[in-house]
C-alpha cells in the first residue's frame, strides 16, 4: 500500500504510466467502467473545492465504485476539534481509499502515518497538490504530444501557488524544459522550490513583464492570486490584478501556445479568450477526471 502526498512520491516512469492509462481510459472508457465495483472512495475536504472533489467523485463513479465523505470541515468532527489522525483512523474503517484536502500544510503526511488505506493529497494549503500536477501533465501531453523540449511560462502567484510548485518539481525531470517565471516581486517562487531547478541545472528566467516573454512560450500556465493565502487583506488587494490575460496580450503568442489554468479563475483570464483554441483550461478540468481514475486504479492495484 502506498500514499501520494507529493508529486515526488511518483517516479517519472510511474507518471508516464499514469498518463498512458489515462489516455487509454479516454480511448476505451467501457473497459474501465466496472473495475472498482464494491470499492469506496472517501473524499475528505476540510477546505472547499469544486473541481478537485467532483473530479475525484466522478472518477470513482466512472470506475464503478462508490463515494462517501464531506465537503467542508464544518460538516465533520473536525469542527469539534477532532485531530486529522483520529478522523483518518475512523474513515479507514469505511473506505478503501481516501482523497483529502486540508488548509494546513503537511496534513496528508500526518494522515499517511496512521492510515490503513491509500491516502491521496488533494491539496494541503499552499504546499502540494499532486493530482493537479498530474492533470497538468496529462493536459500538456494531450495538447502538445510530448512533455519534453518545452518553454513553460508560469504566471501570477508563484509564491503561494501550490500547483506551480508541484508542476516545476515534476517538469524539471523532463529533458529540454525551460521555465519562464512571471510574477510581481512579492509573489516570486520561494527559494526551496528553485532547488530542483538548480540541482537539475534546468534553465529558467524570472521577469515581471508577461508581454516581453509571450512569443517564446509553448505553454502559459496562469494562476489566481488566492485571497485565502494572505494574512493581510491590503496585500491581496494590491496584488490581485497583477496579470490579466486579454486577447491583445495574446497577439504576439505562438499559434500552438496552450494556455492552462488550474481554475477557479477570477479575472486573470478575460472570458474573451475562452473561445480561442489555445485556451485549454476547461479541457484541463476534464483531463483531471481521467488522470484521477488512473491514479485510483494504481493505488488500489486494480488492473484493466
Amino acid at each position: 500500500m502506498r500514499h501520494i502526498t507529493s508529486i515526488t512520491d511518483l517516479s517519472l516512469t510511474e507518471i508516464d504510466q499514469l498518463i498512458e492509462t489515462a489516455q487509454d481510459i479516454i480511448e476505451h472508457p467501457v473497459k474501465y467502467r466496472d473495475l472498482c465495483r464494491y470499492k469506496k472512495l472517501a473524499t475528505l475536504f476540510f477546505e472547499p473545492s469544486t473541481r478537485t472533489r467532483l473530479s475525484f467523485e466522478a472518477a470513482m463513479y466512472e470506475l464503478g465504485g462508490q463515494v462517501l465523505g464531506f465537503s467542508e470541515a464544518n460538516s465533520s468532527s473536525a469542527a469539534k476539534g477532532e485531530s486529522v489522525a483520529d478522523t483518518i483512523r475512523t474513515v479507514c474503517c469505511y473506505a478503501d481509499i481516501i482523497a483529502m484536502r486540508h488548509p494546513k500544510e503537511g496534513a496528508p503526511t500526518v494522515a499517511s502515518q496512521v492510515a490503513s488505506v491509500p491516502i491521496i493529497n488533494a491539496g494541503d494549503g499552499g504546499h502540494n497538490h499532486p493530482t493537479q500536477t498530474l492533470t497538468d501533465l496529462l493536459t500538456i501531453k494531450m495538447e502538445k504530444g510530448h512533455l519534453d523540449n518545452l518553454t513553460v511560462g508560469l504566471c501570477g502567484d508563484l509564491k503561494f501557488g501550490r500547483t506551480v510548485h508541484s508542476l516545476i518539481t515534476a517538469m524539471c525531470r523532463y529533458p529540454g524544459i525551460r521555465f519562464v517565471l512571471i510574477s510581481p516581486e512579492e509573489l516570486k517562487v520561494p527559494s526551496y522550490v528553485k532547488i530542483p531547478l538548480k540541482e537539475g541545472q534546468v534553465p529558467y528566467s524570472q521577469t515581471t513583464d508577461l508581454m516581453s516573454v509571450m512569443p517564446e512560450l509553448d505553454i502559459l500556465y496562469m494562476t489566481r492570486v488566492q485571497r485565502e493565502r494572505f494574512f493581510n487583506e491590503a496585500d491581496y488587494i494590491r496584488l490581485k490584478d497583477s496579470y490579466i490575460l486579454t486577447p491583445e496580450k495574446l497577439q504576439s503568442a505562438k499559434d500552438d501556445l496552450r494556455i492552462l489554468h488550474p481554475l477557479p479563475r477570477v479575472n486573470e483570464i478575460s472570458t474573451a479568450i475562452d473561445a480561442d483554441p489555445r485556451a485549454v483550461y476547461f479541457k484541463q478540468a476534464l483531463y483531471g477526471k481521467y488522470i484521477r481514475m488512473a491514479l485510483i486504479l494504481m493505488l488500489l492495484e486494480v488492473k484493466a
Binding site: 494546513k104 494541503d124 499552499g126 504546499h127
Partner: protein, 139 residues
C-alpha cells in the same frame, strides 16, 4: 577545571564562545537536580576562546542533535572518573521535538500533540526541513 572533576557524566567541550547557554536551554539542563557547570570564555589553543559545560550525570537524550547547534563541539562521556568516549556529534538524519516548526500554515501549528520532526535535507548546509510542510528549520 578539568574533566577528572566529574565522576559519572558528560563534558561538552569546544563549544563556540557564547553558545553555552543556548545548549543549556536546548538540553533543558535547568530541570536537572545534578551539578551542572558552565564555563564561559575558557582559553582554547584551537579556538582562542571556548565554552564548556560539565554535567555530573548521564543524560537520556540524543546528544548528536547538538551537532545541529554547533558542529565543532566535542562530547566526552565520563564513567567512574575515566573518559570512556570522546566524539564529535554527527548531524542526525532526523531530529524530533528539539526545534519547533515556525510556519503558521503547518499542521503542527494547530495540532498540538504532533511531534515536531525535521529531516536533514542538505548535509553541507546543515539544512533541516519540517517533514510536514518542508519549511526550513531555524533555532
Amino acid at each position: 577545571m578539568n574533566i577528572d572533576s566529574i565522576n559519572n557524566g558528560i563534558v561538552i567541550d569546544h563549544i563556540k564562545a557564547g553558545q553555552a547557554m543556548k545548549i543549556y536551554d536546548f538540553l533543558e539542563l535547568d530541570k536537572l537536580d545534578c551539578a551542572v557547570a558552565i564555563i564561559k570564555n575558557a582559553t582554547s589553543n584551537k579556538q582562542g576562546k571556548k565554552d564548556i559545560i560539565k554535567i555530573d550525570s548521564q543524560l537520556d537524550v540524543d546528544l548528536n542533535a547538538l551537532g545541529y547547534i554547533d558542529p565543532s563541539i566535542t562530547i566526552n562521556i565520563i564513567v567512574d572518573g575515566v573518559r570512556v568516549k570522546k566524539y564529535h556529534p554527527e548531524l542526525p538524519l532526523t531530529i524530533t521535538n528539539i526545534i519547533r516548526c515556525k510556519n503558521p500554515r503547518c499542521i503542527t501549528s494547530t495540532e498540538q500533540e504532533l511531534p515536531h520532526v525535521f529531516k536533514l535535507t542538505n548535509r553541507e548546509k546543515d539544512e533541516y526541513r519540517c517533514i510536514y510542510c518542508e519549511s526550513r528549520a531555524s533555532i
